[in-house]
Symmetry: C2
């Protein structure tokens, strides 16, 4: 099965990378008109293959990976898709 | 409108971050059984708001942002979702 994990900083945590991207996009507005971009959040996305063929067990496995290794759950939230 | 941009290294480009995550997941296999993880790819995901209300023009705008600022199109590919 193919798993996709999205990891974002939680809503209350300042996303400095997102702010930088927003500033860069707004700064280019003179030439391209991107001043209407707001609330940029930058996250990570991981895609990988799993041997498991059972969707429920695969989801539980990926959840365990996120809790233990992939995400820093103190400041990050994650979203799992298994297909 | 809300735009989501996924940016991944192109298929032929070595994804060292993905290899590191794969190694870490496999290395924890003794305790958690994650030796069945393969082909890990790590990418970036950007979410932001746009003032534009027309889907086609918003998509064109985001495509332009990707080409000019967000993605390094020599080694990275991107996927746009506007909703």
């Amino acid at each position: 099965m193919k798993a996709t994990v999205h990891i974002f900083l939680k809503a209350g945590v300042l996303d400095v990378q997102g702010k930088a991207v927003e500033g860069a996009l707004n700064g280019l507005a003179g030439t391209a008109g991107w001043s209407d971009v707001a609330n940029v959040r930058v996250g990570k996305v991981l895609e990988f293959d799993l041997k498991s063929t059972d969707k429920a067990s695969a989801e539980a496995e990926v959840k365990s990976m996120c809790e233990k290794l992939l995400a820093n759950t103190v400041i990050e939230s994650y979203r799992i898709e298994v297909a």
